[in-house]
Structures are given as C-alpha cells and as structure tokens.
C-alpha cells in the first residue's frame, strides 16, 4: 500500500473522463469553420489578427505564470489563453495595427484574467473586457472594418497583410478606401441616427442575402461550430437558445412596432457578433451562470441588452457590453435559481 495514500484519498477511484485542455481544444475546433469562412471572405487580415493576438497572449500568459509562481506547463497548455486570443482577434477589425492587437491581448490576459486570479477566477470574460477597453480607448481604429473581398478589386496576400498591420504600408496602387467599409450594423446606426428610415436607407452594398454581406456566411459558419459544441455536450443548450431567443424576440417586437427604425430580426440574429456571442462568448463557463434556470435568464438578458444597445445605445454592436453587464448579475442569479434538491419537502 503506498504511503500516505489512504489518509488523503477518497473514492471515486475511477479515472476522470474529462480534462480542461480537452474542453478548450473542442471549443477551438468548433471555431474553425467560422474562422475559415471569415478568412476566405475577408482576406488574410483575419489570420494576421489571430496570429499576432495568439502569439502575444501566450507570451503574456507565460510571463504571468512565472511571476505568479504557478506550474507553467500545466496552465500554458490548457488552451484557455488561445481561446481568449481567438475570440478577441475576431472582435477586432482585420488589418488593425499590431500595437492595438498586442494591447488588447495584454489587457485580456494580464489584467482581466491573471490579476483577477487566473483560470477559473476571473469575474469578467477576458476577451470581452479587452474589447470594451479597446473600443472605448481607440474608437477610430476599432471601427475600420474591411470590406468583403468580392466588393473591391483588391486583396492583400498574407505578407502584405502583415506589412500593413506592422507598418501601415499598403502595396502600390492600392487605395485605402477600397479596403475598408462599414459593417451592416455600423451602416444602420449611422443612417438611422441621421433620421432616415429603413426604406430610405435602401439597399446598400453592405447588405447581403440575409443580413450583412459576408458576415452572414461567417455567422452561419459559427452556427455550425456552435451546434457541434452542443452535440459534444461542451456547452449546454440553455445559453445559446436563450440569447438568440432574447435577441430575436426583442428585435421582432421592435420591428413589429416600428419597422422604419428597427432592423429586421434576421439582420440582428445573423449580423455582428450575435451567433459568435451566443455560442462562444456567452457560454464561457467561468463567467456564465451555472444553474439551468439562471442560464436561461442570463441568456435572455444578454439577448435583450444586445438589442437595446444596438438600437438605443452608443455603439453599433452591443454583444460585448451585454455579456459584461449580465456577467455582473451572475452571483445573484446563481443564488436565487438553485434547483430543488431531491426529496425537498414542500412546506
């Protein structure tokens, strides 16, 4: 009998079926379809974003683990930093300057994650917290989204994309205007704020078949990945369903009440970060609610707040702020929605 085992070890003596690394890896695989479509439709800038943010995130994670005296190998390879990095890089426009990416990475890993206690202890979703910081500090850079490739007669190859990100240098003959365009939510916001109604806004090149051009396919890619995550039981059905329901119902009501100033529900559901948020951001286990009922309320809150911020707030996409705001309510939700234990007496 090995020494000191019996005093410290309790049943079960069955090897654990799961690991943190496996959960995180599965989420990364689920992100792949959406990311590939994004790169295909919007160019190498997306990949450049992901690479720079991921590399700096891992670097910061490594430094923080050393500083905090934690076992480096275990935590560096649990893939949680990589997920944060990917989600953050998707939230930043492609071809953003490198310092913006590194700053975002720094804030998410060092401040929002490690300074709050590291894996499992962070109160706010690190990717969203960093995005919020960048958006408020650098509104200009954060709104220069690229146009889908089919629009312009341009396309930067990967080297050129890196060059642009690092040095802000474009190849000769290429116009900057040809690269950028507003996203559909951006477009809606600016036009509506000038008093135009939807019929007047008319058909802009930003609109695609269902919603924002290009982005609609990306959203569908993420939807595929999200459904696969559900199938793998990595995430539970309550949060994505509740988020999309909350968003869908609110936008439906808005559209029904006044179709002139509220975008139709499909634009909301497939535009911006709705699908990505519903399946990948709101479902971040560390910051989401943990009880079944709590998750539903959490999701509906996020859905509604996203609609509210998009329609009445100061930013084109409200998903990030909605997640952060509902995240603050999580301890309260968890406390009041604890399920009834087996055999609870009905007094």
């Amino acid at each position: 009998m090995p020494d000191n085992i019996s005093a410290i070890t309790s049943s079960p003596f069955v090897p654990s079926t799961d690991s943190v690394a496996r959960v995180m890896r599965t989420v990364i695989y689920a992100l792949v379809p959406g990311v590939l479509i994004y790169i295909a439709l919007f160019g190498w800038g997306v990949l450049v974003n992901i690479l720079i943010v991921t590399a700096s995130a891992l670097l910061f994670e490594w430094i923080m683990l050393l500083v905090r005296d934690r076992p480096v190998k275990v935590y560096l390879f649990d893939f949680s930093a990589i997920i944060t990095a990917i989600l953050l890089s998707l939230a930043i426009p492609p071809l953003a300057p490198w310092w913006l990416l590194v700053l975002g990475s720094f804030f998410s890993i060092v401040v929002a994650k490690h300074l709050y206690g590291g894996l499992g202890y962070n109160t706010f979703n690190p990717a969203m917290a960093a995005y919020a910081v960048l958006l408020i500090s650098f509104p200009l850079e954060m709104s220069m989204w690229t146009a889908p490739l089919s629009e312009g007669s341009h396309s930067l190859n990967i080297i050129e994309s890196f060059e642009y990100s690092l040095f802000q240098v474009l190849p000769i003959n290429m116009q900057y205007d040809a690269l950028t365009s507003a996203t559909v939510l951006d477009h809606i916001r600016t036009e509506v704020s000038t008093g135009k109604s939807f019929p007047e806004i008319g058909w802009s090149p930003a609109f695609g078949y269902l919603a924002g051009k290009g982005f609609e396919w990306v959203s569908l890619g993420f939807l595929l990945g999200g459904l696969w995550l559900l199938y793998k039981k990595i995430i539970s059905w309550q949060i994505p369903t509740a988020v999309l329901t909350g968003l869908g119902v609110s936008s439906l009501l808005g559209y029904a009440v006044n179709p002139d100033i509220y975008a139709n529900p499909l634009v909301h559901m497939l535009g911006g970060a709705s699908i990505l948020g519903a399946f990948f951001i709101a479902t971040d286990p560390v910051t989401a609610s943990t009880t079944p009922l709590g998750r539903i309320i959490y999701g509906i809150g996020i859905g509604f707040l996203t609609f509210a911020i998009r329609s009445w707030g100061g930013y084109p996409d409200g998903m990030a702020f909605a997640v952060l705001l509902m995240g603050m309510m999580v301890p309260l939700l968890d406390y009041y929605t604890a399920p009834k234990v087996y055999g609870a007496r009905t007094r």
Binding site: N4, P12, S16, V23, S236, V341, Y342, G343
Partner: protein, 506 residues
C-alpha cells in the same frame, strides 16, 4: 409494461462485470481465526455474552443488544474464543474496535439448537420478525441497517422493492446470488410480503444482468407451478443501467416516481426497500433457522489474479480472501472495500470481512493521483451529473472555506457521496473528498460548539459558586467579628456591673 421514471443526472460507466464471472461461486477454506467486530451495523454495538476460553459453535449467538436499532453477532464457524480485544476494523481510518476473536477448529459444526423449520408458513408475523432480529440480519447492500427495525412500519406500505440493481462497476455478488440461489430470494420476498402487506411487490435488476433476470423469472415460474400462486404478483423489472440506479433513493424514484423526503426514510412515502442478499438471509433464518454467518463477496479488479465471487464467512481476515484470489504483485496495489465509485480505501488488509463487505477491489492507485488538480472552471458538468440535484460546484467553494451555514443552505447533508461529480469534473477536483471533509468538519464543529456551551455553563456555575463561597466566608467573618464585639461589650457591661454587686455584697 410497468412505467418507469428517470432521475436527473447519473453516469453510464464501464461495468467490468464479466471479469468476476458471476455464474460461479467459489468457497474458501476455513480461516485459522475469525475476527468478529461487535458493531457491524448501524446503531448500538452488541455486547458479548461469551468469554475468552469458551467453546462456541457455528451460528451460536455470541453478542446481543437490547437496543431496538442494533443486531446480534453470531460465531461464523466453530472454535474457541481466544480474546475479546480491540482489533482493526475495515474502515478508511484504520481505527480499532472491540472484536470477538475465535480460533477455528476446522470442524465447522453448527450449533445444535439450529434446526430447519418445516412449516414456515405457520409462523405469525411477530414470530418472523423476532427470528429475523435474533438472526442478526442487517442490510447487505452496504448500509447495514438492522433489518428487523425496518420491518415494523407504522403505516400502510404501498411498494416493497427488492434491490438487485447492483449498479457499481466490478461488483457482482448480488448477480451471483441471483443466479445461484433464486429460489431463496423469491421465498424471502414472499415472507416479506407477509410481514409488510404491500400493494405492489417489485424485484428490480439492472438490464446488464440478463442471466440474473432470467434466473429469478424462472424461479418464480417454478414456484407457481408448484402451487404457490401468489408469486405471480411479484414483478421482476429490468431497470436501465445507469449509475447510481442501485442507490435506494434513485431506485425508488425510477420505480415509483416518488422521492424520499429530505432527511426522511422511504417508509414515509409507503416504500420499503431491501437488498436481494438481505432477502435471501431472511429466508434462510426462517426456513433453515440459520443466522447471518456468511455472505457472497466479489474479489476482483485489474490486479486480482483469479477474480471471482466467493462465499466468505463473516470475520475472515481480508488478507486470507486476497490470498485465495491471488494478487498480482504491484507496488501501488490498493485494497478497496466496496466498488470503485463509493468504496473505502483500506490502509491495510489486516481487518476482517464484515457484514457490509460486498466486494474487495484490487486496483492500482498512483501516488500522484491528486497532483493534477486544476482550478474549477465553473462548467457545471458536476451539477448535470448529480443524482440528488445538488450544486456540487457551490458545495466545493463553501467546503473550502468551511462555511457551514452556506453548506447547509446548499444541502450538503443530502449528498450520497456517489462520486458522479468527481468523475466528470474536467479540472479533476476531488469533489467527494471535499464533501466528506466538509461533513466531518461540520460534525466536529457541532461537537465543539456543544462542548464549548457546556464549558461556558460550567465555568459560570463555578465562578458563581466561588463568588458565593467568598460572600459566605465574608459574611461568617463579619458575623464572628460582630459576635466578638458583642461579647466584648457584654463583658464590659458585666465587669462594670459586677463590682457594683460585689460592692453591694462586699
């Protein structure tokens, strides 16, 4: 087709049942000594009625108890009592308790008074109950609750459930019993039905045991052909194989849809649940007149050379049982009493087989088993798996902080320590260990608080007494002083007066 319900949570686990080949039951040679703890059951320990040096027979009662919730202890083979001393009992703590040690004489002679009962159907209910109590029968599913105390319900019983589920991996002793002694189980059920008069009678077996199901059904058919028509009302039901369906609370939910009330017992919802082994023991006590002196034990595990089911005498040293099954030489071989999900890791194999021993599992446990623990990522897998609908995550946080009020709020006492949450946790947090730790800390805190309260009361009483004694002493001093002054004053008066008188006289 009977309707079945489901309970929330639970896990599908690899069974490893075929490893111990439950169709065959082997016997063991008589051990050199048997060590019989006086407490192998829930409730008060029994008190010995034999002395060192006394010769005893197999089945002779050697310890009894007057308490209602208690059970007698019988000699499991013939021999001489050599001592009544503290010996190691099979518990994770490795503590010792009082045991009667018998040196066996190898003859295995039954106590002469033990005779089969030729007409058990003539016994009335009270007599049956008395014999069950005298036979020292306790729940053999692991809970070891004295059966006689369970069979006197104060209300109408709707359902009698005989638990043949055996949901834990590796364990097959109930399966082996159902395959080798199905008649005894069914006759036992009939006896219980006479005692309890339930409306419904169910034998529940998990569907991964088709041989056992077939065996019991065949026995029922056979008894029906022999004229025992009432057996047809016994319903044999195959329940889905999900751990922990064999847990009493979960099985009741699956079969009846009812939930045992919190901190309550099944009879409150009109249900009595007994293990198949207990049922067979009850039948033997009534039909054969034999008390509980042996049971089937599964010896199995990846490190067992000849995994099998053995009929083992109660009190046989576990080391003897392991020797018979053959143990693969390994540095990290652990001996677990019970199954891999809920069993106890024994510090050594020097303790005896007791009434609760259903399985001895020989497994390898690596010394670094607890060093890969990651922080909780709040994924909620644990609450999805919990069969009692608890929030293991919250219990984990509060157990770390020893917040007893919060632990009560989140219903820690309702945890059945099944282990489902620990198995699914991606961070490999030893959740059940935390809950056991928290429960023992809570109990300790309760005891400390009681002792502290008692101490406070006694201290205050002592201080009050000392205060009173001091006051009395001072009062006495003051009185003595006053008396002295009085005397002095009286004396002065007397001397003043005296000369006068004398002067007069003089």
């Amino acid at each position: 087709m009977k309707k079945l319900w489901t309970f929330k949570g639970g896990l599908k686990l690899a069974g490893f049942k075929k490893l111990s080949k439950p169709s065959v039951v082997k016997s063991l040679p008589i051990p050199k000594r048997v060590i019989l703890p006086l407490r192998q059951h829930i409730g008060e320990p029994a008190e010995p009625i034999v002395e060192a040096g006394e010769k005893v027979y197999k089945g002779q009662v050697i310890a009894t108890s007057k308490s209602f919730i208690s059970a007698s202890v019988h000699a499991s083979t013939s021999g001489t009592v050599i001592e009544i001393e503290k010996h190691n009992i099979p518990h994770q703590s490795g503590v010792s308790e009082l045991c009667i040690v018998i040196e066996t004489d190898g003859k295995d002679e039954w106590y002469p008074n033990i005779k089969p009962n030729l007409h058990p159907e003539n016994l009335d209910v009270d007599e049956i109950r008395a014999r069950i109590r005298e036979a020292g029968i306790v729940g053999l599913g692991g809970a070891v609750f004295p059966s006689a105390a369970k069979l006197k319900p104060t209300r109408q019983i709707d359902t009698l459930i005989i638990n043949g589920a055996e949901c834990e991996p590796y364990i097959t002793c109930d399966d082996a019993l159902m395959q080798s002694c199905p008649d005894e189980i069914v006759q036992g059920v009939l006896l219980l039905r006479k005692l309890l008069n339930p409306i419904e009678c169910i034998i529940a077996i998990e569907d991964n045991k088709p041989d056992a199901i077939e065996s019991i059904r065949h026995s029922i058919e056979k008894l029906r052909e022999q004229g025992q028509g009432s057996v047809t009302t016994i319903n044999v039901i195959a329940v889905p194989t999900i751990f922990p369906t064999g847990g009493e609370k979960q099985l009741i939910k699956v079969l009846t849809g009812k939930e045992v009330p919190k901190e309550g017992l099944p009879y409150e919802v009109g249900i009595v649940c007994l293990n198949v082994g207990t049922t067979a023991a009850i039948r033997n006590a009534i039909y054969q007149g034999t008390p509980l002196v042996s049971r089937y034990v599964t010896v199995t595990g990846p490190l067992a050379k000849q995994p099998a089911n053995y009929e083992v005498m109660i009190g046989t040293p576990i080391e003897d049982v392991i020797q018979a099954a053959g143990k693969v030489k390994a540095d990290n071989c652990a001996v677990i009493m019970g199954g891999p999900m809920m069993g106890q890791l024994l510090p050594h194999s020097q303790s005896p087989v007791v009434k609760a021993t259903n399985c001895i599992l020989l497994e390898e446990i690596k010394p670094d088993i607890n060093t890969n623990v990651m922080p909780c990522i709040r994924c909620g897998s644990c609450s999805s798996a919990c069969p009692m609908n608890l929030l293991p995550q919250q219990l984990y946080w509060h157990a770390r902080e020893k917040s007893f009020k919060k632990l009560e709020h989140y219903n820690l006492p309702d945890c059945i320590e099944c282990g489902c949450c620990s198995v699914v946790c991606p961070s490999k947090i030893p959740l059940v260990h935390y809950f056991r730790f928290a429960k023992s800390e809570m109990k300790d805190h309760e005891i400390s608080t009681k002792i502290a309260e008692q101490s406070r009361v006694r201290t205050q009483a002592r201080e009050a007494r000392l205060e009173r004694m001091k006051r009395e002493q001072e009062a006495r001093k003051a009185k003595r002083k006053a008396d002295r002054l009085k005397k002095k004053a009286a004396g002065k008066k007397a001397t003043k007066q005296k000369p006068g008188k004398e002067a007069l006289a003089g």
